[in-house]
């Protein structure tokens, strides 16, 4: 999956993640200033990690703040501000903080800062994106100047990975309105919501030698074609969310290159199981056999995708179950299921829109094949605006989109657990729920893996979440920008490129 060597992996376990060898073996060089364009930005842009919602926010937050842990290229959590994070029973965790880490505006990082930063997520008025996860913290308290104790409501082996998310980055204690004062590799120089963020090198960064760049200007260019043009015209040096159709353009430029990251991002067709007709098992089986996955991979994503099998764990995940048979396009079986379901000729609207990548086109593919087996699927295209609050999960058939999460537990807990707020399909599977809870506390790694395998099989066989492909993330960059090493947690090196890249002009 990733082009990283064993050596860089081991180095990554120690003092932060060293740049791997993907883009040139030259030694990192200090200095230089770059402009980076992501695809989304608005007046809702924020300096508050808890409220980060878009790629631009994540990049900004990882520039300014540091987290207790960070996810490595191996999808495993590594220590960052936390020197050690240990637990005997996976319910009570002891964190030992790194000493001598300083905030941009002065003051050493202490346990009080961490306690403040974690507990604020439990305040409903804050509107934290991690409120449902922070609900698991029954207690967060200081244990001396550099020690923190977190007590969870139940055992969860994945706490270190959860804390690596940008939302849990650490603020100075007592910060009512975050202003960029963190312990991150860059200091804030200018912040205009919806326009730009400028950050300059933090000479006192706790990872010695880093960062390399003097200055990063972060903007957003929502229009994809314009984003590519800005890169090719030399106005920006790094962009994310390159459309598969545009890769040829970037590659044909001698001064630019693309960086592809196979990721766990997927757009899925949600067939509500608590409603009819979408809850009819024959209907769901038919839909799964109507998906021409190779066509979607080839035509929609030009090969920049991994074929999916209607369950959310991608093939390159440590817990992926390789023994589930791949569902393929089979019009005869689909027709048989449709006839059995009695839905021949019934008009069924699918809600799709640009809010979900590839949704409209995937719906077109389904519509086309559906017509051949007697299914009348009608595409209702709805604008991106208001999609998540009005259409997502609200109709018998709609599209959803799920970003990569650091652990299998998080994906399953957020989207497939019976009582999850975003149980997209509304299914209820007691066996699945039971396995999910058991896996959180399971100490034996083999048994834990077996549980995740069974969960994937259950979702594949019974759930109305239809996942045709996992979408690869494509960044475009200037060849002089070195050190970019794709990270499965997201584009732009899992949004953490800032401290890892250097300018070799």
């Amino acid at each position: 999956m990733m082009d990283f060597s064993r050596r860089s992996l081991l180095a990554g376990m120690g003092a932060g993640l060293m740049p791997a060898t993907a883009w040139g073996a030259a030694l990192p060089k200090r200095g230089g200033s770059i402009r980076v364009a992501t695809q989304s930005s608005s007046t809702a842009d924020t300096l508050d990690p808890a409220k980060g919602a878009l790629s631009t926010d994540y990049v900004r937050h990882f520039m300014l703040y540091s987290g207790l842990t960070r996810i490595g290229h191996d999808m495993i959590a590594h220590p960052a501000l936390a020197e050690r994070i240990e637990s005997a029973d996976r319910a009570t965790w002891h964190i030992t903080l790194r000493k001598g880490v300083h905030f941009h505006q002065g003051g050493e990082l202490t346990s009080a800062d961490v306690v403040f930063s974690l507990l604020r997520h439990k305040d409903p008025k804050l509107g934290s994106k991690m409120a449902s996860i922070a609900a698991q913290f029954t207690q967060v308290r200081a244990d001396g100047r550099y020690g923190v104790v977190i007590a969870l409501s139940g055992p969860n082996a994945d706490l270190p990975a959860m804390l690596a998310q940008s939302h849990f980055l650490i603020l100075r204690k007592g910060t009512a309105k975050p202003d960029g004062n963190g312990t991150g590799p860059f200091k804030l120089a200018e912040f205009k919501p919806g326009i730009r963020t400028v950050a300059v090198r933090n000479p006192d960064y706790w990872v010695s030698g880093k960062p390399y760049l003097d200055r990063i200007e972060l903007i957003a260019i929502p229009d994809e074609v314009s984003r590519i043009n800005a890169l090719l015209a030399g106005d920006v040096q790094l962009i994310n969310a390159v459309a598969p159709q545009s890769t040829k353009r970037v590659e044909s430029s001698p001064a630019h290159v693309i960086a592809t990251t196979p990721s766990a991002l997927y757009s899925n067709l949600i067939s509500r199981m608590d409603r009819l007709p979408s809850g009819n098992p024959d209907f769901i089986a038919a839909m799964k056999h109507l998906v021409d996955r190779p066509l979607i991979k080839r035509a929609l994503f030009r090969g920049f995708a991994t074929i999916g099998n209607d369950q959310p764990i991608p093939p390159f995940h440590p817990y992926y179950n390789p023994h589930i048979p791949q569902t393929t396009l089979d019009l005869d079986r689909a027709r048989w299921h449709i006839n059995r379901s009695g839905l021949r000729g019934v008009r069924l609207p699918i809600y799709a829109g640009p809010a979900v990548e590839g949704a409209v086109d995937m719906a077109s593919v389904l519509q086309e094949y559906g017509a051949r087996v007697g299914l009348d699927l009608a595409i209702t295209r709805v604008p991106a605006d208001g999609y998540w609050s009005t259409h997502w999960m609200r109709h018998p058939l709609s599209f959803g989109s799920t970003n990569p999460r650091p652990t299998a537990d998080l994906v399953f807990s957020l989207f497939y657990k019976s009582d999850a707020a975003w149980n997209e399909t509304g299914w209820k599977n007691p066996r699945f729920d039971q396995l999910l809870m058991a896996a959180r506390g399971e100490v034996d790694e083999n048994r834990r893996r077996a549980m995740y395998h069974e969960m994937q099989a259950i979702v594949h066989d019974q759930c109305g979440s239809i996942i045709p492909v996992f979408i690869s993330l494509i960044d475009g960059l200037d060849r002089r920008l070195k050190g970019m090493n794709p990270h499965p947690m997201g584009g732009l090196m899992g949004y953490q490129f800032a401290e890892n890249v250097w300018w070799a002009a």
Binding site: A37, S42, T43, A44, D45, K51, A53, P124, K125, G127, S128, K129, A131, S132, K177, K192, P193, G194, I195, R196, I219, A220, I221, P222, D223, V225, S226, N229, A230, L232, A233, G234, D235, V236, A384, D385, G386, W388, S389, T390, W392, A421, W422
Partner: protein, 327 residues
């Protein structure tokens, strides 16, 4: 009704009209704000839901709604906003958590600059094209101008802008592809980075203005008074500039004002393609984030700009054609 005075008292007679226009402008502004408020009420979801996004839990939404004051009934919220406006306070942005005035102040100068520079290019160009075409009616010049102005609007705006970027930014690398205006930039830098947005917008607005100019003048050319003047030996261009133009200035200026008002709120596509930090994209942003005070502020600005342009147009028409004031 308004001051049916003779031409000699022209100056004085304009004042009551101006005052009345300001009064009706206020009425229009209030009507717009009501319409915007009502329209936005039709939108699914609210600022609290949009801010929390996909991950919202009901308790969070309720808490944030209370924090934003969205739990109050709509008429109360409107009244509060109106009271604020009466004190020249546009309120606090629900989403960005800072005063609306501050956000607007960041972008209004950009939009005014873009619109101003486009107008400075487009208006003389359109007048020259329209007048030349009218004077040389039926000649090859007329046809050429006609065809040129038609082809200008024959392609979608986003295609024209994208073609411009491909040619001048990516291929030739003469101009930057982003209109990044900032306080530090010098005038020539700003002009260079805004060149393509200005050209794209000019292409969009110039055709309508040129064609209306030509149509209005051509329409007058067949009038007896033109023939009379021609018989007296005046050249056609002199008749057009001296007699015809003042007579048909009303529709021309009107068409121009209409086209120019497009440069404020209609520039959304150009703003998007060139990443220009202007008001139109801010307003779209306010719609998608359901940020009512910000949305209202943008609507008020666009409306005022339009009203000012129309007022200017009408003043020009009145000065040019005093008989209108007898109406």
């Amino acid at each position: 009704m308004v001051g049916g005075m003779s031409g000699s008292h022209r100056q004085q007679s304009l004042w009551p009209l101006l005052l009345r226009r300001i009064g009706s402008a206020l009425v229009t502004l209030i009507m717009v704000s009501v319409v915007i408020f009502a329209l936005a009420g039709l939108l699914p979801g609210d600022a609290a839901q949009e801010a929390l996004g996909q991950s919202a839990t009901p308790e969070q939404v309720a808490a944030l709604r209370h924090e934003m004051g969205l739990d109050q009934p709509a008429p109360v919220r409107y009244a509060q906003w109106l009271a604020g406006m009466a004190r020249a306070d546009a309120g606090q942005s629900l989403v960005a958590g800072m005063p609306v005035a501050e956000i607007i102040a960041e972008r209004l100068p950009n939009t005014l600059m873009l619109a101003g520079m486009t107008a400075a290019l487009a208006v003389p160009l359109a007048l020259a094209m329209g007048i030349t075409a009218a004077i040389r009616r039926g000649s090859w010049i007329d046809r050429a101008i006609n065809l040129a102005s038609l082809s200008m609007v024959a392609l979608p705006e986003f295609l024209v802008a994208t073609l411009g970027v491909l040619l001048f930014c990516v291929k030739l690398m003469w101009l930057p592809s982003l209109a990044m205006v900032s306080a530090e930039a010098t005038w020539s830098e700003t002009l260079r980075s805004c060149a393509l947005p200005i050209l794209s917008l000019t292409v969009v607005v110039v055709a309508q203005m040129a064609r209306m100019t030509r149509a209005a003048i051509a329409d007058q050319l067949d009038r007896p008074y033109v023939e009379m003047a021609r018989l007296k030996g005046a050249s056609l261009s002199r008749v057009v500039l001296g007699h015809v133009l003042p007579n048909c200035l009303g529709p021309i200026v009107n068409a121009m004002a209409l086209s120019l008002s497009y440069l404020m709120g209609g520039a959304i596509i150009v703003e998007t393609i060139f990443n220009f930090p202007g008001l139109a994209s801010l307003m779209v942003n306010a719609v998608t984030s359901r940020d009512m005070p910000l949305l209202q502020a943008c609507a008020m600005i666009f409306c005022s700009a339009y009203l000012l342009l129309m007022l200017a147009a009408d003043m020009v028409a009145l000065i040019a054609n005093p008989r209108l004031r007898a109406q």
